[in-house]
Amino acid sequence: MPKSAVMMAEGGLLDSLEGVKDEIIRQKVLYEKLVEEQAQLVKTNSEREQRTKDFKDRFVKITEGLEQAKEQHLETINSQKRKHDSLKQEEAELLEDLKGTETALEEQEIKEAEVEGATNVNTVVPKREVVFRGATVATGNPQPFDVKSRIKYPMEGGTALITFEDEIVARKIQSLQTHKVTLEGECYITVEAHPVQLTVPTLVQMDTRVCPRSILVSQLPDMDSEVILDKLEIHFGKRFNGGGEVASRHFQEDTRNAVLVFTDDKIALGLTQKENHEVSFPKKSKYKVRVTPFVNGTITRVETEALACPRTVLLTGIPGVMDADCLQDTLEIFFQKGSNGGGEISNALYNPPGQTAVALFEQDTGI
């Protein structure tokens, strides 16, 4: 029975002073122990609390760090992506550039072949007879050009042209601008003397190129040009002979060479590479002709100057007072006389008013 347990304990307690005192001591000890235990608990609790705080702090730190890391990483990745994209773009541009360059290169190669063919042609041109007659110049000069000019000069009505033998006479006549030409007796007409200025070329710049559809045929037989052209067209019109449809043809009177133009641009090359062809002509079957590329030129620039004729004078304001032939004679007689300032005349022409005449001007080799 619990009561007896209590009674026993109490008995001890309340029975004697010593018992009580023992109990006090026992309680004291218990108390001390409890206080110690309390202190211990407080300490461990405090430590634990600190540990927990540490964990929480670290948690916060880690979480914050993670947020920061995420931000940074995002930034890094974005910047890397931008770099990647820009490299991709660079790649695309480079590829396009490369493609463009290759295309340009191809174009240039075609041009090169064309131009090379043309420059090589300079050694594959028809021959023309030339002769050395003693003329020389200093080396270092480019090949000089010769010119032969023919100018058709329509004359105004009431004008005349006179070519004097002597340049000095012509100049004198020109300087005395007006001349009183006596007709019969006291009658005279006043004429004006002028120089004749003609425009001539001084510089011609040209580009040359091989015509891809044409051939030049040289070393032709001596016969009518139309016959030659017909026979050539027949021969080179046949596929069998390496030819094709002839678009046009013409004969160079100067060189006695013929030019054939085909419709197709693939024919000329083969024919010129073969160079020698046997063509049938009347009474000359299997006549060997030479086929070379046809080089043509295009003028890119012309410079001209007005050239005064040294020996020819233009007279104007001549009225039609008498018959044309008579007037011409009168003028010639007048201007032949030294007393009138004139001199020997090579050529003269009078064009009466209302009429047209064309005067020919040519090179003056007489000086």
């Binding site: 209590v6 009674m7 307690l13 009580v20 409890l34 608990l41 609390e49 927990t52 880690i62 990483h73 890094t76 990745i77 890397q80 490299l87 991709k88 790649e91 360059t101 340009a104 090169e112 043309a118 300079n122 023309r128 007879e129 030339v130 002769v131 007659r133 003329a135 020389t136 090949q143 000089p144 010769d146 000019s149 100018i151 058709k152 000069y153 329509p154 070519t163 004749v196 001539v200 070329p201 011609v204 040209m206 040359t208 100067d254 060479n257 080089v295 012309v302 007005a306 050239l307 004729c309 040294p310 020996r311 090579s346 047209t356 005449a357 064309v358 005067a359 040519e362 090179q363 003056d364």
Partner: protein, 406 residues
């Protein structure tokens, strides 16, 4: 301290029962009851000797018992606190570890992602560098090719500088069927490039009258030319000339039209045209009846066509004309030119009658040597023939020989 003795055990027993029952009834603790009893006994007890000591002790005991109880409570509270804290700590630790794990996982992912994209970037950089190198190479090739094409194209161009000539009226032309004839001064100029060859010292060029003589000489390996008391072995060589061109240029000058330039005015296009027309028709200034005036306001240039011939040529010679625009001004006038190419030919000069003589040692002076050569090559016994022309140049000199096109 007062105390009393309870004589019997039974009495003690019954006091304790009462305390316990009372404690239960009042919900007070035993120790509190004892403390209460103690106070009660103190109040009711008289002073006794032994009874007082025990009472004091009991009182102390109560105090201590109270203290113990309190301390026990406090300890219990602390223990409870501890349990709660332990829970919290475990959770906090768990959270922290979870976060750590998350961090690690994330770091791994980042590394992977960064590695991948950096790999791509490196690869692209490398490939792009290759492309750049290749592009550079192809561009160089293109430049080279362009230069070559330009060079070759240049070779195909030429500039013909035409020498000065003198012209004279030579004859009258028979009437030609050309309605436009009176409108232009038409010139046809045949331009020929003269083939050349370089003559160096110790060489001579000799042109025979007959082709067959030239061929004969060329067939000989050497020609023994007697000079003084010696014999000079002169070597005949055939000539290879480069290509030349020949073309015709038709150059027409208008007898009715005139080009003008330098017109500047604030007036309207129509007004300008009107003023120009009236200015050009004034005979006092050398003008004539105007057929029409063409004017380009952007360039200030134009063309005036007169009704009759003669005016244009006269004015072209002067080069200037005064017109009334905003004020009285002088404008430039020029002839109206038209040109076109006719009959272009490229050829190679074949000097059939001309022979090159080489290895002529300098024995005599130039003129004497030329004479010696001429005498030798004239003789039929030497396989020679009539000579048209001969040119010899001595050592140390150099000339460009010019050929004529037949």
């Amino acid at each position: 301290m007062n105390h009393f003795t309870v004589n019997t055990t039974k009495g003690v027993f019954w006091w304790n029962i009462r305390i316990v029952l009372l404690a239960k009834k009042t919900l007070l603790t035993r120790s509190t009851m004892i403390t209460g009893l103690h106070c009660f006994l103190q109040l009711n007890a008289g002073s006794g000797g032994e009874g007082g000591e025990i009472a004091d002790a009991l009182k102390e005991l109560e105090t201590w018992k109270g203290k113990v109880e309190e301390a026990t409570c406090v300890k219990a509270d602390l223990a409870l606190e501890a349990t709660k804290q332990e829970e919290a700590k475990t959770k906090a630790k768990k959270d922290m570890n979870a976060a750590l794990e998350q961090q690690n996982t994330y770091r791994e992912e980042c590394t992977k992602a960064t590695f991948a994209i950096e790999g791509d970037i490196l690869r692209l950089q490398k490939e792009n560098k290759h492309l750049i190198d290749r592009l550079s190479g192809r561009k160089d090739a293109l430049d080279l090719k362009r230069t070559r094409v330009d060079q070759l194209t240049e070779q195909l161009k030429f500039s013909a500088k035409i020498p000065d000539i003198k012209l004279k009226f030579s004859e009258v032309l028979k009437e030609e069927e050309d309605s436009e004839m009176g409108e232009h001064i038409s010139g046809y100029h045949t331009i020929t490039e003269r083939p050349t060859t370089v003559l160096t010292g110790g060489q001579a060029l000799i042109t025979f009258e007959e082709k067959k003589v030239a061929s004969q000489i060329l067939r000989m390996a050497k020609c023994p030319v007697p000079v003084e008391k010696d014999t000079l072995d002169v070597i005949p060589k055939s000539l290879t000339l480069g290509s030349s061109v020949k073309f015709g240029i038709q150059l027409d000058v208008s007898k009715k039209a005139l080009k003008f330039s330098g017109v500047r005015s604030a007036m309207s296009q129509e007004a300008i045209r009107g003023h120009l027309e009236s200015s050009f028709s004034r005979p006092s200034r050398g003008g004539g009846e105007v057929e029409r005036v063409e004017y380009d306001p952007d360039t200030g240039t134009g063309k005036v066509t007169f009704l009759n011939t003669g005016v244009a040529e006269r004015l072209a010679l002067i080069g200037m004309y005064s017109v009334d625009l905003d004020a009285h001004v002088t404008i430039k006038v020029e002839p109206v030119l038209q040109y076109h190419l006719e009959g272009f030919q490229a050829f190679c000069g074949a000097p059939e009658r001309t022979v090159l003589l080489d290895k002529i040692r300098d024995v005599e002076d130039e003129e004497d040597m030329a004479d010696i050569l001429e005498i030798f090559f004239q003789k039929q016994t030497n396989s020679g023939g009539e000579i048209e022309s001969i040119k010899y140049i001595s050592r140390g000199k150099e000339l460009l020989a010019l050929f004529d096109v037949i």
